[in-house]
């Protein structure tokens, strides 16, 4: 199965990965090889098979709605690239 450089550009945008035309060509050839491997799945008929998303077939556990974690905002923000007044700073998104 062949993945084109144009598809790579689209996938990379979905995945928020900056790419240029040279990289897109490089990744297109590698991902095409990987998808050839993936295509081997089609050797096997999976009609009427229940999909398995997880090794544990069980419902997620619930817990009492109580506060269990202390406020650690200062500790968590100390390792952020940019903060101000307790907020995380990002480039302006609303004009």
């Amino acid at each position: 199965m062949s993945i084109t450089a144009k598809q790579i550009t689209h996938i990379a945008r979905l995945a928020r990965l900056k790419t240029d035309s040279e990289h897109a060509v490089f990744y297109a050839s590698q991902l095409s090889r990987i998808m050839d491997l993936v295509e081997q799945m089609n050797q096997i008929n999976t009609d009427d098979i229940e999909p398995m998303s997880h090794p544990q077939d069980m419902a997620l556990r619930l817990r009492a709605d109580e506060i269990t974690a202390p406020d650690q905002r200062a500790a968590y923000q100390a390792i952020a690239p940019a903060t101000q007044d307790g907020f995380y700073l990002v480039p302006k998104v609303i004009e």
Partner: protein, 490 residues
């Protein structure tokens, strides 16, 4: 030699004051410094280790020590360690000092173990050679021209070279067992849900499981027992009593039935590896185990199935690395999207970007059913194959890997060739089963060979018991590479 002792021997010596934890810790720290060429560690915490050792010595002096108090350990660099760098082998976490400890770290700390530092690994645990680490590849102590396996290559090389007596590791598709095989160690991945994933940087959440790289099954049993148990902070952690792994090591294996899947003994397995595995099976038979041929008919599609599910989960998990809350942020961006894209493109290495893109692709509109849903159906069939096989046997055996350790660069240009390393290991992750690799011989180049034992769900005890009994009758696990600095490079 001090570094060849078992954890029980270290524990007894510490409790009897033959040597102190400070002396033991300093011994290993010196070895780490002398073996810097292996690149097994990303961070060595000299001072913190000595402080923990002093604390352990106080406990031991007051007879408050446990079996593990004062014994050094190293953590794979994807376990969060409070106040200590946790990079996950990536540039994007190159400055990440975790504000909290992973449950595994917390549990071993509370046993009084002394952490020597954080071991090198494939970036985000994506790799089978430790060559994708941003911090440089790890060398195999048996032959530094060869890879130690991966992704837990730093933990494996460190234990093999006697830089630490035991190390934590994680296994998503074989990342404990394949390096154990390549380095001649005992490496166990327990059943999914046994060990808390809290504080482990997530790769593929339905496959990831923490375990141990050790010199023998007894050591692995001791540490695994201390690591495992229910954790309310991990929603997939099982609410079960902790099994007595060390207590069951000495059971007789007479009458145990070992399933041999014909799919694990076919073409593609190197001749020396096949011979060593055959010989190991005969050894187990001579100890009273019986063998039966079983079938795992869908194992051929395990690799393609895995390389859809793991990247799909990874693409979702790794979306958290955005340059906003922690870690690296690229400089010079026009707007928010540009900041995300530049941060991620510069922060992630090529293998991680490949897997994020594969995962994004198989989950994207129009492809979900053909790839992701198809892989989930195959996952069910692979798990059902194991259930059927285990109706006939107590455990399953085969080679851990088709070959011994390969040379650097050999599979770097071809991701598919690298992925085939997991051919025998990743089915246990897909099905959530416990599995162990133990030393089973050497090839003609004196490179270790691993015997792979897969157990029933939640039955780590049987594979540890069989591994321990095998090690009572063989000496493969006692062999060590030449001393630090005398390595051959061919």
């Amino acid at each position: 030699m001090m570094y060849e002792k078992t954890l029980s021997e270290h524990g007894a010596a510490l409790r009897n004051r033959k040597y102190s934890s400070i002396e033991l810790t300093q011994h290993y720290l010196d070895r780490i410094d002398r073996a810097a060429e292996l690149n097994a560690f990303i961070t060595v915490t000299h001072e913190l280790a000595l402080e923990q050792a002093r604390h352990a010595d106080r406990k031991l002096k007051n007879n408050q020590g446990t079996a593990l108090t004062g014994i050094p350990v190293a953590h794979k660099d994807l376990f969060c360690t409070k106040g200590v760098l946790t990079t996950c082998g990536s540039k994007i976490l190159g400055n990440f000092v975790s504000p909290y400890d992973a449950t595994v770290v917390d549990k071993l700390n509370s046993q009084g173990m002394v952490s020597l530092g954080k071991t090198n690994m494939d970036e985000f645990a994506m790799g089978s050679s430790t060559e994708t680490s941003y911090y440089g590849p790890v060398k195999n102590p048996w032959n530094p021209a060869r890879v130690p396996g991966g992704s837990s290559g730093g933990s494996a090389a460190a234990v093999t070279a006697g830089l630490v007596p035991v190390a934590t590791a994680t296994d998503t598709g074989g990342s404990i067992r394949q390096p154990a095989a390549f380095c001649g160690l005992t490496g166990i991945k327990p059943s999914y849900g046994r060990v808390s994933r809290y504080g482990m940087v997530a790769f593929a959440s339905s496959l990831d499981q923490a375990g141990v790289l050790a010199r023998n099954a007894g050591d692995a049993a001791l540490v695994l027992q201390s690591m495992s148990g229910f954790d309310p902070r991990d929603s997939t952690s099982l609410q079960l009593e902790i099994a007595d792994y060390p207590g069951q090591l000495n059971d007789s294996i007479s009458g145990k039935i070992i399933g041999l899947p014909k799919e694990f003994f076919g073409n593609g397995v190197d001749g020396d590896v096949a011979d060593a595995i055959d010989q190991s099976i005969r050894q187990l038979q001579s100890m009273g185990a019986r063998t039966v041929e079983v079938e795992l008919p869908n194992s051929a599609v395990g690799i393609p199935c895995y390389y859809v599910i793991a990247p799909a989960e990874a693409s979702s998990n790794l979306s958290r690395f955005d340059g906003v809350r922690y870690g690296f942020r690229a400089a010079g961006y026009a707007d928010l999207n540009d900041m995300y894209e530049k941060t991620r493109a510069k922060g992630f290495g090529p293998e991680v970007q490949r897997r994020i893109m594969i995962g994004t692709y198989v989950l994207s509109s129009g492809y979900y059913d053909a790839y992701y849903l198809k892989a989930q159906k195959l996952r069910r069939m692979i798990a059902d194959d194991f259930s059927r096989a285990f109706e006939q046997c107590d455990l399953i055996a085969g080679p851990t890997t088709p070959t011994t350790a390969f040379v650097f660069g050999e599979k770097n240009d071809d991701p598919v060739a690298m992925y085939l390393n997991d051919i025998f290991t990743n089915a246990a992750n897909l099905a959530g089963l416990p599995a162990i690799s133990i030393p089973a011989g050497f090839d003609r180049q004196k490179l270790p060979i691993g015997l792979h034992l897969i157990g029933k769900y939640l039955d780590e005890s049987t594979i540890l018991n069989v591994a321990h009994q095998f090690q009572n009758q063989t000496d493969w696990h006692l062999q060590t590479p030449v001393e630090i600095g005398q390595w051959r490079h061919d």
